[in-house]
């Protein structure tokens, strides 16, 4: 590189820009759920190996975020919400994002394999592939069910955390997967009902725009009802218990009530109060997910100290 090219470049990407490329807010959810999956498992893990495993899962999630931004740079430049992302803003070049995404993916998968086991590394590789290729490249722009499919990628982390500790997939990890998988559609569609997004301009088929808001309301309740069974069913597995069940019962009644209210409402009523119910239910959905995984963690602590024996559990 010559001096001339150095001085004419308008903006030099900083570490913060590369960090933003990895979708840090998504990583928070990934780290939290993977950590819970690892800690509630019946097999203990060396703390340092556990730390490295969570780091690998977080880096893998970040890498898939970078690959997603690389692929979606054209539509990110069209939508207001994503206009300031590192690639459309010009901070990071698309080739850099691709390189970072691929490099970090390889790093995370190989290190997770060396630190833990092949199943955990394989699940991480599949998650990255699923998010970057199946969701971003194949289905995001072709089906209004894209949120449902994308939710699967976000649902794998607790299963990977569980696999790190146990080296297996079991009913507990499948139910943790299903909890996030079934939660994602009502969570995002509640948001889609009150956020005036410009997905249509970008050519991304969102359910609210392709099938209308009434169909979206029907879909919200259709996913919420089976979600309740998944959430409560988790309470009867080896990682559940009286504390988890009581928290889950409260959270499910709260969330189901919100989804039912959304389903029963008309668009006119929603517009009249500035989508108050939709906004409230969206907020409840955040408490819902963190509440369930937090309760699983507390339940594991109670079990460790033998404090669930009083309930005959």
């Amino acid at each position: 590189m010559t001096d001339a090219t150095n001085t004419t470049q308008p903006y030099e990407a900083q570490m913060g820009d590369y960090y933003a490329l990895m979708k840090p807010r998504v990583m928070q959810l990934v780290v939290f759920t993977a950590l819970v999956g690892l800690l509630v498992a019946p097999v203990g893990v060396n703390p340092f190996i556990g730390f490295v495993a969570i780091l690998c899962i977080a880096v893998g999630a970040g890498a898939s975020g970078a690959l997603n931004m690389w692929w979606d740079a054209d539509i990110d430049a069209v939508m207001k919400r994503t206009l300031k992302r590192p690639i459309p803003s010009g901070a990071v070049q698309p080739g850099e994002a691709l390189g970072i995404g691929l490099g970090l993916s390889g790093f995370a998968i190989v290190l997770l394999f060396l630190a833990t086991n092949a199943l955990a590394a394989g699940l991480l590789a599949f998650t990255i592939f699923f998010y970057a290729v199946v969701y971003s490249m194949w289905l995001k722009r072709s089906t209004p069910q894209n949120i449902v499919i994308g939710g699967a990628a976000g649902a794998f982390p607790p299963m990977i955390g569980w696999a790190v500790a146990t080296g297996s997939v079991s009913i507990e990890s499948i139910l943790m997967f299903l909890l996030i998988f079934m939660w994602t559609p009502p969570h995002f569609w509640a948001l889609a009902l009150f956020v005036k997004a410009d997905y249509g301009d970008a050519g991304v088929p969102m359910l609210t725009e392709t099938h209308g808001r009434t169909v979206t309301r029907n879909h919200i309740i259709a996913y919420c009802v089976p979600l309740v069974f998944v959430a409560l069913g988790l309470g009867f597995t080896s990682i559940g218990g009286p504390f988890y069940l009581s928290v889950a019962l409260g959270l499910n009644v709260w969330f189901l009530k919100g989804c039912y209210s959304i389903w029963k409402r008309t668009d006119a009523a929603s517009d009249a109060d500035n989508h108050a119910v939709e906004k409230h239910t969206f907020k409840v959905s955040l408490y819902y997910l963190f509440g369930h995984f937090g309760a699983l963690l507390v339940e594991a602590l109670l079990r460790t100290y033998g404090l669930t024996a009083w309930a005959g559990w």
């Binding site: 001096d3 150095n6 001085t7 030099e12 990407a13 900083q14 570490m15 590369y18 060396n46 340092f48 190996i49 490295v52 780091l55 290190l111 060396l114 630190a115």
Partner: protein, 84 residues
């Protein structure tokens, strides 16, 4: 007269360079930590002798157990002979 030869790119890329440095140090820490944890977690230090591209008949599956059985048998025979 100063001997300052720093190019402006050094300042412009300072944050990135520090970031890369911290990540490299972190990488060393991870590899070192994993090595310590994995080695200390071995149930038998002889497992370390695997995969070093040197033929070791004694490390073939069952060889160690067979050697131990042979040693036990020899010890038992010696005990028996000493009693006699």
């Amino acid at each position: 007269m100063t001997f300052k030869v720093e190019h402006e790119i050094h300042g412009r890329r300072k944050g990135r360079n520090f970031g890369v440095g911290i990540m490299l140090i972190g990488m060393i820490g991870i590899v070192f930590g994993l090595t310590v944890v994995k080695v200390l977690g071995l149930t038998d230090i002889r497992q370390m002798e695997r995969f070093d591209h040197v033929a070791r008949p004694q490390l073939e599956p069952g060889a160690l157990e067979a050697a131990e059985r042979r040693a036990n048998a020899l010890a038992a025979q010696q005990d028996y002979e000493a009693v006699e």
